[in-house]
Amino acid sequence: MMDINQQRKILKHLSRGMPICDEPYKELAELCGISEPKLFEFIQELVDSNVISRFGMVVDPESVGYVENAIVVWDIPDDEVDQVGALLGLQEKISLCYKRQRQLPDWPYNLFTMIHGKTKHDVLTELNNIVKSNGIENYACDVLISTETFKHEGARYDW
C-alpha cells in the first residue's frame, strides 16, 4: 500500500507531465519506489474515482485551428443549475463549465461555459446545436465573443 506522501509525489509528476519515450512510466515508478504494475493500478484508480478527469495528452486548441472562443453565460434557476451545468459540461466543444456568483442587478447570469470553434460562425452554430439538443431554449443567455487577446499565460483552461 502506498502512503499519502508517495501518492502526492506521483500526482505531482503526473500533472507536470511525463517524457514521451520507450517505457515512459519506468523512471517515475523507480523514483517513487513502487513497481510499474502498482503505478498503473494507481493511475487507473485516479481516473475511476474522478481525482483526475483523464490521463493522456493535452492538445492546445488554438494550435490545431480552434482559434475562436466565446464565453456563453446563462441565467439558470438556482435549483436547476447543477443539473444543467453537469449536462453542458459533457458537450464536446465546451472546455469550461462553471457556476459563478451573480452580481445583481448588473449581472444576472450564474452559469458560464466556454465554447471553441475554428471560426466565429462555427462557435455560434455549435451554440445553436447545444441549445437545441439539450432543450435549453427557455433560459436567458448572452454570448461574449472574444475579439482580441491582450494577455494569455499560465495553465490552459483557466479564464
Partner: protein, 148 residues
C-alpha cells in the same frame, strides 16, 4: 507544421484511455498500424511545436477562492489603454476584449484570498469604470478533448 492523416489518427488516439503498460507507444502504434519509433518521434515533434502541451494527468478543478473572473465596462475609445493597464498586473493571467457592454474580461489569480482581494481593490481604485467580480461557486467541467 503540416498535419498529415497519420498525425490526426495519432492526436485523436492519445488524448484519452492512454495505455497503462510497460511500452504504451508500442500498443498505440500497433492499434493504428504505425511504426513505434515514428510514433514516439512524431509525438515529440508535436510537443516541440506546442500542438501537444503535455503528456500526463488532467486535474479536476476544485472551486478555489484565489482566482476570479472580472469584467470592466470601458468606453470603446479607451478600451485599449485600459486593457494594457490591466495586463500590467502580475495577478492578471488572461485578458480579453469581448463583444459586450462589459467589454474587457480578465482572470485575476493570486496565492491567497487576501492578496486576491487586495489586487481587486487596487484595480477598482485605478479604474473608474463599472466592474464585475464573478468567482467560481462550482466547477462542472474544465477540460477539452479535441477530435480532428
Amino acid at each position: 507544421m503540416d498535419i498529415s492523416e497519420d498525425d490526426i489518427k495519432l492526436i485523436n488516439r492519445v488524448q484519452r484511455n492512454f495505455p497503462l503498460c510497460k511500452d504504451p507507444f508500442a500498443t498505440i502504434a500497433k492499434e493504428l498500424e504505425l511504426d513505434k519509433n515514428w510514433v514516439i518521434n512524431r509525438l515529440n515533434e508535436l510537443k516541440d511545436n506546442n500542438i501537444i502541451s503535455r503528456f500526463g494527468s488532467v486535474a479536476i478543478r476544485k472551486k478555489d477562492s484565489f482566482s476570479t473572473l472580472a469584467a470592466l465596462k470601458v468606453p470603446p475609445e479607451r478600451v485599449k489603454d485600459i486593457a494594457h493597464l490591466v495586463s500590467t498586473y502580475d495577478e492578471v493571467t488572461h485578458n480579453y476584449l469581448r463583444e459586450h457592454e462589459y467589454n474587457l474580461w480578465f482572470v485575476v489569480q493570486s496565492s491567497s484570498a487576501k492578496k486576491l482581494d487586495a489586487a481587486l481593490d487596487d484595480l477598482r481604485l485605478h479604474m473608474d469604470f463599472p466592474m464585475l467580480n464573478l468567482p467560481i461557486l462550482e466547477s462542472y467541467h474544465s477540460d477539452m478533448v479535441i477530435t480532428l
